[in-house]
């Protein structure tokens, strides 16, 4: 029987994130998650997207949060138990992973997850559904992590929405043109693209220097520079292990042309978003607008 890693009883029982990437969905968050967890000074949970704060503060999201944790967690558990020799098992990691899958969620449940992070590591997670949680949710985050740093990755709103719809099409949830047209009117889809409102909400709670906005355009053009900026923001400095993976897109959806009627609906509905966004971020905002409103 090997010795346990440094007196298990002396390790902290609960810890809360130093940083969160709160979205946006379909805007490079999987890429970010995958790369950040390669950094030796950063720690992310065994599965991407713990989906804790949206589970608590956006009741509709419970339709998928529990299943997401169960399915992803069970996959990771199988992977861990088969790929790791029993004498090398990290029992605290097994326990936390099993609790992610099946236990009631609570602040202590959440805090136990991050207690796995090393004392010399910054810890955090990537859950794109956090972007649109209500104020009570943001206040909850601040209560647990008063010094939290927030990363928000953004993408041209129409491209983001269409990417999400494509994902739904692949999963068989939408397919007929009239369904897509109706989908483009979806309120949730609009809210997730309404970056100015999202940013405004978070800024009410988070000072400027703790909110870091990045753009998928930059991730695609200069991934290493984006990672460097995120690492700098998190105060950990860049690392060589990151660059090899920086170029590979993660979860790229299949190409599928957007039907003209759907595009038109988006253009009409999203116009105010583009305009407000251009006021916040003139350069990238103008480039996005030019694509659709020529």
């Amino acid at each position: 029987m090997p010795e346990l890693p440094a007196a298990a009883s002396e390790t902290a029982e609960y810890r809360y994130p130093d940083f969160l990437c709160v979205g946006a969905q379909k805007a490079g968050t999987s890429w970010l998650d995958k790369n950040l967890r390669r950094h030796p000074k950063l720690w992310l949970p065994p599965i991407k997207e713990i989906q804790y704060f949206n589970d608590l503060h956006v009741p509709e999201s419970r339709a998928w949060t529990g299943r997401h944790r169960r399915d992803r967690g069970a996959m990771m558990m199988r992977h861990y138990l088969t790929k790791t020799e029993a004498e090398d098992w990290n029992y605290r990691r097994i326990s936390v992973l099993a609790d992610i899958i099946a236990s009631p969620i609570s602040d202590r449940w959440y805090g136990r997850i991050f207690s796995l992070a090393g004392a010399d590591q910054m810890c955090g997670e990537v859950s794109p559904d956090y972007a649109t949680i209500p104020d009570t949710g943001i206040a909850h985050i601040l209560k647990l992590s008063p010094g939290i740093r927030i990363v928000l990755s953004l993408r041209d709103p129409i491209a983001r929405s269409w990417s999400q719809m494509r994902m739904d099409i692949r999963r068989g949830q939408r397919k007929e043109l009239h369904e897509l047209e109706a989908g483009a009117m979806n309120r949730d889809l609009y809210n997730r693209a309404d970056y100015p409102t999202i940013i405004e909400n978070w800024r009410k709670f988070i000072p400027d220097d703790r909110l870091h906005v990045i753009f998928l355009d930059d991730i695609e053009a200069t991934p290493e520079a984006v990672l460097e900026s995120v690492c700098g923001f998190l105060g950990v400095g860049s690392h060589a292990r990151l660059s090899t993976k920086a170029m590979n897109p993660v979860h790229a959806g299949e190409k599928l042309e957007i039907p003209p009627s759907v595009l038109e609906t988006f253009k009409t509905r999203y116009r105010p978003i583009y305009e407000r966004f251009a006021a916040l971020y003139p350069e990238i905002g103008a480039a996005w607008m030019a694509r659709h409103y020529g």
Partner: protein
């Protein structure tokens, strides 16, 4: 497997499956013991643990002897209790993973088995163990070292479980002590009489055999109707009657069929002749204890005392 055992096993399997299928948010996060068996060591506690956990309405943790309060309040025991949890816990986890198909895994149980090994040992750690118990069960554990807890340890028990019921199993002190010494000696391959004499002279032996003092310190916090004393003599002579008393004390129904192995002793130590010098040391040191026990429990105490004095 007997009919009773089979029934029990099916019931447990069904309960585990039901728990796994339940919405996690409907499950409790923490729970603390309804009862604790605090010892004495070498006085039938393994038998007690083994039988109580067969009762369909009683729930005990996956491992005997969580050693939680002893970990906190008897720091000198920490090395071996930690090793014991690591060894037993990892074995239990491996066995669980091997014996059950992944689609049947109860992940909460897996988490708690891993916690036994990985800690950290805190109130929440302890409370998560008992949260596995079905809502309608009476839950508790058996850790004989708790009988030697200092008053702060007893207060801690009460803080977590204000209405806890305590079970204390007693055995003729010299017989208990010799069984203890024998176990220690055999585990370390010791036969040297001088070493056995040294074991017999340890204060720890007096401490663990001083049932009246132990009872007094627990009874300061626990009312009489929540404190049950049983005797190994009765476990050996009439195990069913002892179990019936225990069920009554824990307020769960008693059926003979719940306990198909009631008559089988558990953890019987290897025989070994007690050197007369060891007996002399114990007789000498334990005399006042026998007198005190005889006052407290005239029937058992007098019979025990008559064996040696």
């Amino acid at each position: 497997m007997s009919e009773g055992a089979r029934m029990n096993w099916r019931k447990r399997k069904a309960a585990a499956a039901a728990a796994a299928a339940q919405d996690p948010q409907s499950l409790p996060e923490f729970r603390y013991p309804d009862f604790i068996c605090i010892g004495a060591q070498k006085a039938g506690t393994s038998w007690l643990d083994r039988n109580l956990r067969r009762h369909p309405k009683l729930w005990l943790p996956p491992m005997k002897e969580l050693q939680f309060f002893s970990h906190l309040y008897i720091p000198q025991a920490r090395n071996w209790t930690t090793r014991q949890r690591q060894e037993k816990g990892s074995k239990l986890l491996k066995r669980y993973l091997d014996k059950n198909a992944q689609e049947d895994w109860d992940y909460r149980r897996i988490a708690r088995l891993a916690d036994i090994v990985g800690g950290p040992i805190t109130d929440d750690w302890y409370g998560r163990m008992f949260a596995l118990a079905p809502a309608d069960s009476v839950c508790g554990e058996v850790t004989p070292d708790y009988s030697t807890l200092p008053p702060e340890g007893i207060e801690h028990v009460l803080r977590l479980s204000p209405n806890v019921r305590i079970i204390f199993s007693l055995r003729d002190p010299i017989a208990r002590s010799w069984s203890h010494i024998r176990m220690t000696a055999q585990a370390r391959d010791i036969t040297d009489v001088a070493v056995l004499e040294r074991f017999a002279s340890q204060d720890n032996q007096v401490h663990r055999a001083n049932y009246p003092a132990i009872i007094e310190s627990w009874r300061r916090h626990i009312p009489e109707d929540r404190f049950l004393v049983v005797f190994l003599d009765d476990i050996q002579a009439a195990p069913g009657a002892v179990l019936e008393r225990l069920c009554g004390f824990l307020k769960v129904p008693y059926e003979e069929g719940f306990f198909p192995n009631a008559a089988n002793p558990a953890h019987v130590g290897q025989e070994m002749e007690m050197p007369s010098s060891v007996l002399e040391i114990l007789r000498d040191r334990f005399r006042p204890i026998y007198d005190d026990i005889a006052m407290l429990y005239p029937e058992y105490g007098a019979a025990w005392r008559a064996r040696y004095y």
